[in-house]
Subunit: 262 residues, 4 copies
């Protein structure tokens, strides 16, 4: 029945229909950042009763999913930095993942992250059912030099710091029986450093994960060892580790020169 | 400790770091198709022992996720067509979802689809554990007229038809103790219509879902009824239905003029 | 001497160097507008002593160059509208000029227009030497339907009207010994229609070219005639004509249905 | 008369019409190459009787126009390389010309080059009238590092070398009464180096401009001098010079470190 139409559509229209497709490619030889963000996680965190301002279960679940990304895309993703419901993945300058097609890269990373998030939910929220499907959006940005990619990461870590100061004050105020509106007003335009003192928050005693976010990368593997043990290639890349460290200063990068090695 | 750096990065570098971001926007007043595809679903279907050439559980799970998309993005997505591990979602010409930013639209749809897929897996595969996180990639294409969006859908349905013919033959051959290699060779360049007859496949008796794929849209709601019952706005848009129908010919579209109504 | 290097660069780097190139293509089946604008024509018009607010020589030179574009790109450009130092060229929806590569289309049209402008300068400014090289910039915009392309043209003609009202008032004030600053201030936020009356400008007596801009298109050719006379193919497309007409209302378009014929 | 319509189009449609415009921006902190090419210069060179394989008048006119580009865009264009009817302009990594909008940059450079070409034609072709308007097309490419921009320039100079070898052989054959077809066939797949010897072409005696193309840049100015003489700012940037030199090897770049200085 479809016969004639099949002929026609194959010969005449297919090329035309496909001519509307386009692939925007990310510039070669630049660092690619894929940043994902929870969609409407304000509501999601309320309905799933996340502790405020930071929920260890939720943060550890995010970290676990980010580790999964570094394991799956081990040839391409060299570093990840996460805070709250956001994660940034850095792809190697020379990565040719999906021929650097932006849409493929973004959607495949977002999708795998989401999938892992749902599958591992129960590992982190044993007592709490997932009430509806969470989702994340994603975007890609290219940076042409190592300096700028480090500026990018510094920006995210500064943001973590500022948000954490703000949220610590906000929830302390709410805990002291202020309404959310009142808490918000009292912080509008305030110097956060001062507010923290006023509210007697012992900021430096807060868990370092809250203050510095989470950095994920692969341990460098000893080459000699690698050859001797004759393991699978993915193993050569070393174990993926999660740390809560200063990525703004030079120390970490000097100690791990291979991560952003061109 | 971060104090000084915070100042500096806020005032000097932030604007610079952000200047690398870009948002490609999809052309206004055009139909947007977001097509998602399972990543490495060949392997995924083997490991999860999908029935071949078509697995009802897998297809119904896909359909269920697509229904969820039409329900969540009810203001924007007006039609969906799916076959195998692929689904196309048509957004209204006038949709302003995420200000038509391509990356946001693609990633949010892919992510919600994936999330739903994992959460509902057990509803369709009661006996079979999900062994690892499935993922999907996505892309967006714009079409400037109703004719072309219909050509697009025809292309996908013809593809469904051809693939289903091929797969029916292939798995019949495999069932008759040919190796996969032999089956492939015997079909190379063959006229599928003839092969179907030779192999005594009663093609028209195959379930219509296999032959025509799945089309999803909202039932038109009677306006008078709508106002009387004073229901929530989402309800006005009618129930989402899944059908297995010919979307190449004019009949369906003449009977549902509102779907692609400009 | 270059020998070895030639080998190396040909085999190793060429593909890499070229991988940075990209061609952004304009969406198929959409009307393309290429709009060009004089660069710093405020200064150019002063140095070349253009009559104010409108210089017939300058406008006729612009029109002459636009006619040249319609003649050279006769298969692609179907209409042009110009005012002051700006011209918009409409390419047919189905044009495949340079495979719809944006940069090629824009640069080739801008370049040919510029070249013609310089070559024909002396035909319009017999008494006045060209003192330095004029230049134009260009951009392309796609519009998916005939309605929107007409909205675009209406927008440009309304702009012509408003600018001409403003400039007529401004230069009348300057002629009456106001300084430019004073003239500007006196018009700030004013109702132009009223100002025109106050200043006793007989607006409707102004040349129609000033009030309506210039529209350029090809006369439709009688098919029978065409075949009889056996002329060159470009001739079939009819003579290019310049008119000063209302392109906002429906009349012109009803009388020339072939111009925006899909 | 337009009154009502003016209101309507201003309030309702203008924003909509403009929403179709888009500006693709070139990535910050990358070297921009704008390469322009003569359109149909094969025919143009025949009609204007250019000497073959190289016409000094034509090459010097091209160089003169490129110098004009470096003078006009002195804050942005740091180097140019030209051969035959092609010129590449390198914009500084940090250039913010037209906010790095691709279309503006390309069209403004192409237009000014074209305009200068026509105006200066008579200075180089005193005996020969310009018979029709020449035109150029243009494109932009970004390169993220100094190494790659040098690879780009090496590619163009190698191309110059190969084309010049080929053309020297071709026109020598034509001069020896071969037809163009025969000349072409005799060179198909040939080793050019050998052919040059066979045809007794004293290649290294050919003018260096033919063999190495033309490189254009600004002489570095002594800072002390600059301040003393208190000249106009453009002057600070030094005189623009045209040279015919090897830009593949390191020597030139070591002697002129400021040109590609980041």
């Amino acid at each position: 029945e479809l016969g004639d139409f099949v002929e026609e559509i194959n010969n005449v229209s297919l090329e035309y229909v496909r001519s509307f497709e386009f692939d925007s490619k990310l510039m070669p030889s630049t660092w690619i950042v894929v940043r994902i963000d929870g969609c409407h996680f304000h509501r999601f965190s309320e309905i799933h009763e996340f502790a405020k301002p930071n929920d260890d279960r939720a943060l550890n679940l995010m970290n676990s999913c980010a580790v999964a990304i570094l394991e799956k895309f081990w040839e391409d993703v060299v570093f990840a930095y996460g805070v709250s419901d956001e994660y940034s993945f850095i792809l190697n300058k020379n990565s040719n993942l999906y021929q650097r097609r932006a849409n493929k890269i973004i959607s495949a990373i977002v999708s795998y992250f989401t999938s892992t998030y749902v599958m591992r939910w129960k590992d982190f929220f044993a007592q709490s059912e997932l009430k509806y499907p969470p989702s994340f959006d994603g975007r890609a940005v290219c940076y042409p030099s190592t300096e700028i990619i480090r500026d990018y990461l510094s920006w995210r870590q500064v943001d973590c710091h500022i948000n954490n100061q703000y949220n610590s004050c906000f929830w302390k105020l709410v805990a002291s029986r202020k309404s959310k509106r009142e808490a918000q007003n009292s912080l509008k335009g305030a110097q956060l450093q001062k507010k923290i003192e006023e509210l007697a928050i012992d900021y430096n005693k807060l868990p370092i994960m809250y203050r510095q976010g989470s950095s994920i990368y692969r341990e460098k593997v000893d080459n000699v060892l690698m050859h001797q043990e004759n393991e699978e290639s993915t193993e050569c890349y070393g174990k993926v580790i999660v740390e809560h460290i200063d990525i703004i200063g030079p120390t970490f990068w000097l100690e791990h020169p291979n991560i952003l090695d061109e």
